[in-house]
């Protein structure tokens, strides 16, 4: 049911852990729904120097977290904010339809961590920050999960 790429990221997840003195931390999801993602970022001059994640969830949740951290390291904040859940899915060479919500969670976790950085540094959040599905409502992250 999972692609080789997903299984690779699940078995050998990249960037697991938490950054000491992180510049931005974002946690999304809900234990009730069975997945929580926490991403921490090291940021300098608006560039993401390092990213780490911790995830409670299924194989796809672990793989999307791992891939998402890989995709944002070395990127500028605006480049990272432009990464969509679709891009994460494509990088993993696909996810089963029931697992698309995990990629949404990954996108939200990146955005939440960057938002946290903007808040901490007292800066204006580009585009207002919330994507409309930031998971902060505490439950439904199932929006925008239609597979195409």
């Amino acid at each position: 049911m999972y692609t080789e790429k997903v299984m690779d990221h699940f078995q050998n997840p990249r960037n697991v852990g938490e950054l000491e003195g992180a510049d931005g931390v974002g946690q999304v999801g809900n234990a009730k729904c069975g997945d929580i993602m926490k991403i921490s970022l090291k940021i300098e001059n608006d560039v993401i120097l390092d990213a780490k994640f911790k995830t409670f969830g299924c194989g796809a949740a672990v793989a999307t977290s791992s891939m998402a951290t890989e995709m944002i390291i070395g990127k500028t904040l605006s480049e990272a904010l432009a990464i969509t859940n679709k891009a994460v899915v494509e990088a993993l060479e696909g996810l089963p339809p029931a697992k698309i919500h995990c990629s949404v969670l990954a996108e939200e976790a990146i955005k939440a961590a960057i938002q946290d950085y903007y808040v901490k540094t007292g800066r204006e959040i580009p585009g207002g920050g919330c994507t409309g599905c930031c998971g902060s409502c505490g439950h439904d992250h199932g929006c925008d999960t239609e597979e195409d």
Partner: protein, 395 residues
Amino acid sequence: MNHSKPTIYLDNAATTPMHPQVISAMTEVMTSVYGNASSVYSVGRIAKAKLEEARESVAKCLNCLPREVFFTGCGSEADNWAIKGYAMANKAKGNHIITTQIEHHAVLHPCEYLEKNGFEVTYLPVDETGLVSLEDVKNAIKDTTILISVMYANNEVGTIEPIREIARIAKEKGVCMHTDAVQAVGAEPIDFQDLGVDMLSLSAHKFNGPKGVGALIVRKGLKIEPFMHGGAQERSKRAGTENLAGITGLAKALELAVDNLPEKQTKIREMRDYLISEIQTNIPHIKFNGHPTRRLANNVNFCFRYIEGESLLLMLDLNGICASSGSACTSGSLDPSHVLLALGLPHEIAHGSLRLTLSSNTTKEEIDYTVSRLKEIVHRLRLMSPIYDMSLEEQ
């Protein structure tokens, strides 16, 4: 999936491998008995004789009458038929059905279907071990109650329900009693007469028989609508040319399963208890699910806190171990197993469930290997889990 490790199959509640003698019996029928059991000529009569031989064998194993054995396409069909077939044939008597919150979906979904069609269904709760209360059963019965359906043993947590006692209550009140015994037949000694139920469902592939065949035992004289219309097969209750090879396989598998059953149960139970104690000794932050003693001999079910079941299954699979979970990710919805929730487990703990179901061939070495892998995998997943961190901080 490719892995070099030998497979350790600990999902015998999902299905079982076929017994070699079952394969031989089926092969013989497929090779030499091609007739239609409904034909009058000798080739057909041979098929008919084989069919009735199988029916008699099943009846003997379960202590019922051969004419009470109706072969079906699977256990789910038997459950569907029992619920819908009885309700439709007896709707003049009443429209109320009693069942439990922990039934298999093959019982729950037909009940939900009937609710949409004018029936009323009471879903009884269970206690934290999965047991139904006899008081609750008694209190739920009303004038309109026509049917009670309670599973013999739960497929996820293995709890064995007080079926004989519930059947006695049903009989006193003149209510029909069905039991879904799909997990129990071949695993627990079952005597249809002594049990006192009116209908009982079973499935061959749960006891080393073939897939695609089951049976519904229906007490003589019970009024039930046909499941399938269009032929005189199965006393005109289940039309369609009989799956003779499958039926032969079911009968052979049941015969083998009930042979020396108490001895086999004792052996499996010892292994089960060893596995339970090894997990409890080696892995912290766990929750044992189900009943400690009123339990299927082969069932082990735990929740591992702070981790999610599907990740656990994938990791076990990478180590050659086949198991099952009641997590949302394996149920195809956002909610974890309805059984674990009915036992009162919170969602976040139910997501981390693992079911291991043994066979009489499970060895101590397999259990030791499984526990050593499990310990490492649970530890690894917890190190990755933000809620494990949070719990450590709270402590």
